[in-house]
């Protein structure tokens, strides 16, 4: 690109450049800066405070020798798959059902959305209670005479992740619903008419016509859910604290524990760098096709 052309381009879009300036500044200083900083720290032996003694890949070697980290990764994959799938499907269904001109829509919408207003701490605590065999559903059912009733997900190492997924779905499905509802409401009414004339059954209309149009919203909600999975921390703390044993440890908790309680910044940043690279590997192709491959609409 010639300079003259570049200048012309810049002049034509001055306002856009100006408007994006805060974002650029924030990205460069806050995000790229911090990311670089934390990647750098992951090659040092920093403990509680950052240090500058480079130790190469020691932290990574240590990290992948830590069984708790490996468990965390496994759990992460499990939660990611199930949470993403269930939360998305449920949220979408809720949005679609609410969109059917139901009465008391506001009530339903709020009922599905309110968990989102609850802090993770309370969410975790509540579900820990409800699923606890001693307090919650199991005990209630047994008191009602179902003496064989078992619901001990949260205290059982093999099933505790189901409980975590349940709680996170409870917390997050409302947001997916709200997002998709906003999208659904934007659909032109004429399009609905066309589907009705074409005799397209409702579910098919949603699956093959409406949802594809909502693709941007779907991507948004999937990204949001993914972020919440990668960052999932408080809920685990409140609900299981990683237990029983280390059965529900997650990467974010590992990072946080090492960042604070265990004052091992080097290891924490190594872990977060690992997560970052993982995310990058997964979303890079998506990002590329979404944002870099496609040009904007105007000059």
């Amino acid at each position: 690109m010639q300079t003259a052309q570049l200048i012309r381009h810049m002049r034509r879009n001055t306002a856009a450049y100006l408007a994006l300036f805060p974002m650029a500044a924030i990205v460069i200083f806050a995000y790229l800066g911090t990311m670089a900083w934390s990647v750098r720290l992951s090659f040092t032996s920093s403990r509680m405070l950052p240090r500058n003694d480079f130790v190469g890949f020691d932290q990574y070697v240590q990290l992948f020798g830590t069984s708790r980290w490996l468990t965390s990764l496994e759990n992460f994959v499990f939660i990611a798959i199930f949470f993403l799938a269930i939360c998305f499907v449920l949220g979408t269904l809720l949005a679609i059902f609410i969109d059917q001109n139901v009465r008391a829509e506001g009530l339903f919408r709020t009922a599905f959305l309110y968990p989102y207003a609850m802090s993770f701490v309370v969410t975790g605590l509540m579900w820990q209670w409800i699923l606890n065999p001693d307090l919650g559903i199991e005990r209630t059912m047994r008191n009602l005479g179902f003496s064989e009733f078992v619901l001990d997900w949260v205290v059982n190492s093999d099933t505790v992740l189901y409980a975590v997924v349940l709680a996170t779905v409870w917390h997050g499905a409302g947001l997916v619903m709200a997002l998709l509802l906003a999208g659904l409401r934007g659909i032109d009414t004429d399009l609905w008419k066309a589907t009705r004339i074409d005799g397209i059954p409702l579910w098919r209309a949603y699956a093959f016509i409406i949802l594809p149009i909502l693709r941007p919203m779907i991507i948004t909600s999937l990204v949001l859910l993914s972020i919440s999975i990668v960052k999932m921390y408080d809920l685990i703390i409140a609900m299981t604290n990683g237990g029983p044993g280390t059965a529900s440890e997650v990467p974010a908790k590992f990072i946080m524990d090492n960042l604070f309680e265990r004052a091992n910044i080097g290891l924490a940043t190594a872990a977060s760098t690992t997560m970052l690279v993982t995310v990058l590997l997964i979303i890079a192709p998506v990002l590329y096709s979404q944002y870099l491959g496609k040009k904007g609409t105007t000059a």
Partner: protein, 299 residues
């Protein structure tokens, strides 16, 4: 809803049995889901109305024997968070003070970024956005140390503007994503028409694009109000002692490790704290407008 209301005077679409079953199915699904979503709320409310003695019995689903609002009163005005036993009341206004500018600014910036990204060509902007999005996957905690350093150099550490800026920084990836993807579904002809009408970058944003963003703005408000209102960590670190948000108190009430735990007060405090986001959710309904872009373009 009374029966009289359901049989409205004017003509009504007669319902076939298939449709009736369809409606029943919809309501059944929504009903079951509502139960699922409300179950924890029920437990929270009941618990908040119980005395600690009753709670120690461990019957979380049981209705309170002698319901009392004492816990609520305590949570609001006399729960102790360290030395001052003033409940949540104190932090409330701080939270509001943080909430309003943070929500407005972060949404405005997110919308602006989304607009500039999807309608204007700015060299490298998409790459920046990709970095921003990647950064959203990093735990906040990793940012804290460098940000604290930076803020203290900039002289805004521990001030209202500091915490607002922090929320803007951390809200930016998700807000930008939200708006950017929403805008990619809007007909670009409108943008073109506005340019022909002589509107510049800002005029188009404020007069054309923002008014069409109502549904997504509502989602954005929901997300940011929730995130900022519920934020504890950032407020704690960046707000300064005079501006500590309500959640710091909530956390102090709920999150004690070795002190005694008053579950009833915890629950009351939690419900109280979530009232503001809940109010926002409830009020958001009428803004989920149907067909906001209807009638705009043909084809």
């Amino acid at each position: 809803m009374s029966v009289a209301e359901t049989t409205a005077p004017s003509l009504r679409r007669p319902v076939t049995s298939q449709q009736r079953w369809g409606r029943i199915g919809i309501y059944a699904f929504l009903g079951v889901m509502t139960l699922f979503f409300l179950l924890p709320l029920y437990v929270m409310v009941v618990t908040s109305l119980k005395t600690m003695d009753e709670i120690r019995l461990g019957q979380i689903f049981a209705l309170p024997v002698r319901p009392t609002l004492e816990a609520w009163a305590t949570a609001w005005s006399s729960a102790c968070t360290g030395l001052d036993c003033t409940g949540l009341r104190i932090g409330f206004w701080n939270s509001v003070q943080i909430l309003i500018p943070s929500v407005i600014l972060s949404i405005l910036l997110g919308a602006l970024n989304g607009y500039a990204l999807s309608f204007w060509k700015v060299r490298g902007a998409n790459l920046l956005f990709a970095c921003l999005l990647l950064g959203a996957f990093m735990p906040y905690q990793v940012f804290i140390y460098p940000l604290v350093r930076f803020y203290s150099q900039a002289g805004i550490y521990g001030s209202l503007s500091g915490i607002v800026l922090t929320h803007v920084i951390f809200g930016m990836p998700v807000m930008t994503l939200l708006f950017r993807n929403y805008y990619s579904g809007l007909p670009s002809e409108l943008f073109k028409a506005a340019r022909v009408d002589g509107a510049g970058f800002w005029a188009i944003f404020f007069t054309i694009i923002l008014p069409m963003s109502v549904p997504i703005t509502i989602v954005a408000v929901i997300m940011q109000v929730t995130a900022i209102w519920n934020d504890f960590l950032l407020g704690l670190v960046f707000a300064g002692r005079e501006n500590l948000p309500m959640t710091v108190q909530l956390n102090n009430i709920v999150n004690t490790t070795t002190g005694e735990r008053a579950y009833n007060v915890n629950m009351a405090a939690t419900i109280l704290t979530s009232l503001v986001p809940l109010a926002v959710y409830l009020g958001s309904g009428r803004w989920f407008v149907r067909g906001i872009a209807s009638g705009a373009v043909k084809g």
